[in-house]
């Protein structure tokens, strides 16, 4: 194992590492777009007809226009390969089609309006749960008493469905205690604006959704960190260090550093789950982000909005994964020695 590690660090790994990752991301994007394109074509039923009828456009001319528009956009009259290419070229120009639910608005506009709410909820929840979870896990690995509380609590939290903890929090802290509002992104009686009042109101509505996302994710990180630290403390280098008489604090510090690396990878692996969690949490709290939009899209059979949201999510996850890859290079000493020319 050690030999293999040194081997990779002496080459020119960094460029290859990123080239590989970028290739995977590019492929993922192509696959996602293709899936998006394929689904309305290969699923049973006539999506165009059902979308037009669902849109409940009163004038027949408007319905006719929509039908023509959809048929044109899907291009069902063209050969399949041409439909595929058109889909791509429209997409690359930022054209996601028009929303059926809020009819004349472009899907991209609808999504961009919702995006800040989702990001404002997810980014703090993901980062803080990761930091606090790792910290709690590392502490638990050290103290038996803490371990006996952190571990069961951690398993309980991880096993909870996101929406359930959201419902429970809304019930306990919202309905019963009345501390926080349980629905919406801001109060209905204020207009969104750049004022302190609005910011406070926004923060007030943000607490419960944030808390539910934070709590569920927290348990997993704590358990993961605890297990990794215990594993590291039992490894050969730890026994060697303690045989040399190194202070426990030093050994723990090394163990922590080694244990954090898989947790960074774990963050990348977990992103999909966290996105899913954010979506259902938003639905519970009627928070005006992508999750609520997806619900509306499904209920109104607005497939353009649904597909647009899907691509937005994929792009978001790809960007987040790329950021994690960069962070990984920064925190992993092996890739850094490779970068400096590799002295080991």
């Amino acid at each position: 194992m050690a030999r293999a590690r040194r081997g990779t660090s002496t080459g020119a790994p960094l460029r290859r590492y990123f080239a590989r990752k970028l290739l995977v991301y590019a492929l993922t994007f192509v696959v996602a777009v293709t899936v998006n394109w394929m689904i309305p074509r290969f699923m049973p039923g006539d999506p165009v007809a059902s979308m037009v009828s669902r849109a409940r456009v009163s004038q027949p001319e408007a319905a006719e226009a929509m039908h023509a528009y959809y048929n044109n956009l899907f291009g069902f009259d063209e050969p399949v390969w041409q439909q595929y290419l058109h889909f791509w070229s429209a997409l690359l120009q930022g054209d996601f089609g028009l929303s059926v639910w809020v009819f004349p608005t472009p899907v991209s506009d609808v999504l961009l309006d919702a995006l800040p709410y989702t990001l404002g909820l997810m980014i703090p929840a993901v980062l803080l749960s990761w930091i606090v979870g790792n910290w709690a896990g590392a502490l638990a690995a050290r103290r038996k008493v803490l371990d006996n509380t952190v571990l069961p609590a951690g398993y309980l939290l991880t096993a909870m469905p996101y929406m359930w903890i959201a419902v429970i929090l809304a019930w306990a802290l919202g309905s019963k205690a009345g501390w926080f509002p349980i629905s919406g992104g801001y109060s209905l009686d204020i207009q969104p604006s750049w004022t302190l009042d609005f910011a406070l109101d926004l923060a007030h509505h943000w607490v419960l959704p944030f808390l539910s996302l934070f709590l569920v994710a927290l348990g997993g990180w704590a358990i993961g960190m605890r297990n990794m630290i215990i594993y590291e403390l039992e490894s050969d280098y730890s026994s060697y260090l303690s045989a040399l008489g190194a202070p426990q604090r030093l050994i723990r510090r090394y163990a922590f550093r080694n244990a954090v690396l898989p947790q960074v990878t774990g963050l990348a692996l977990q992103l999909g789950v966290l996105v899913a969690g954010a979506l259902v949490t938003e639905i519970v709290f009627a928070y005006p982000g992508l999750g609520s939009l997806i619900l509306a899209a499904i209920q109104n059979q607005d497939f353009f909005l649904l597909q647009g949201a899907f691509l937005f999510i994929v792009i978001g996850v790809l960007i987040a994964n790329f950021v994690i890859d960069v962070v990984y290079v920064l925190v992993d000493p092996r890739t850094r020695t490779g970068m400096a020319g590799g002295q080991s």
Partner: protein
């Protein structure tokens, strides 16, 4: 989307630990530790009790239709309606025991399919190496990065009629990547062992070596992975049900949560409507995770408490 937060850490720990079951000793020793491991016992007992409730609960009820309207409306739990009733006078307990069935079914189908795909991809990528490995790893990474829920959302939205097994199949087909990666890493460490070399020298084919030599040596690991995939499937299914993409015309714990949410059980203070289904899911998944830790301690001598 399926990697439950637990395995992210325990997974890499397990990957790095040798899985030489042969060296640990005979199955009797494993059993010896298994029946003495409290985590394993508690976890499996909780799962078994809930499974029994799901299997035997519905036949013991007066009605066969858990969604039947009748009885008092929005009544809190009492001796007749153990978990109270919904706004429409549906018996929450009847829905709960029926919903448990759907939960176990979707976990079993989703977990099994994900495990089979993960094993095929992981074993062959890890054992054959080379171009096949590059290709399978690439596919795994691509599927890993696409959030499964997002894929399931659009597929489910287009499908007209939905059932629990179909839901399980789709969940299984999207939730295998993390497990495939872990199996690949495990296979990597096993493929250069003497007994594998010996099998190769004696002329065994890839298929035979993988399933006769490599797989049995990580059977404990595979079993633990199945448990995590099972729990993951249950959680994903509950999310889909909650969004309104659950089985049509059936009942599941996720659908119960959805209707509680839809009919403002929260605002009306009807806690008995939304607490049982969520608690049921949490109990099943949590018990599986705890049992998994117990299994880890049983199979892995390093982790045993003296």
């Amino acid at each position: 989307m399926s990697a439950p937060p637990g395995p992210a850490g325990s997974d890499s720990a397990a990957v790095a630990t040798p899985v030489e079951k042969k060296a640990v000793g005979p199955a009797r020793e494993t059993l010896h530790y298994a029946v003495r491991n409290p985590k394993l016992l508690i976890g499996f007992t909780v799962v078994a009790l809930l499974l029994a409730l799901g299997l035997f609960g519905p036949p013991l009820l007066d009605t066969t239709d858990p969604n039947a309207y009748g009885g008092p409306q929005a009544a809190p739990p009492d001796s007749t309606y153990w978990m109270g009733t919904t706004t429409f006078g549906q018996d929450v307990y009847a829905q709960f025991v029926h919903g448990l069935r759907a939960t176990f079914l979707v976990g079993a189908v989703g977990g099994a399919i994900a495990a089979v795909v993960a094993m095929l991809v992981g074993f062959f990528a890890g054992y054959r190496g080379g171009v096949l490995d590059e290709l399978l790893t690439m596919v795994t990474n691509v599927v890993l990065v696409i959030p499964a829920l997002a894929v399931l959302l659009i597929i489910n939205a287009y499908l007209g009629v939905r059932s629990v097994p179909v839901q399980g199949v789709f969940i299984g087909l999207t939730s295998w990547p993390w497990a495939a990666r872990a199996i690949r890493a495990q296979t990597f460490t096993l493929r250069t062992r003497e007994f594998v070399d010996l099998a190769r020298l004696s002329g065994s084919g890839t298929w035979r070596i993988v399933f006769r030599e490599i797989a049995p040596n990580m059977s404990s690991y595979l079993f633990m992975m199945f448990i995590l995939l099972f729990g993951g499937s249950v959680l994903i299914a509950s999310s889909l049900d909650f969004i309104g993409l659950g089985p049509t015309g059936g009942v599941s714990l996720g659908l119960m949560l959805q209707s509680a949410q839809q009919w403002s059980a929260l605002q009306l203070g009807m806690w008995w409507w939304f607490v049982p289904p969520g608690a049921g899911i949490t109990a099943i998944v949590g018990a599986l995770y705890v049992a998994n830790v117990g299994l880890d301690e049983v199979f892995n001598p390093k982790l045993r408490e003296s």
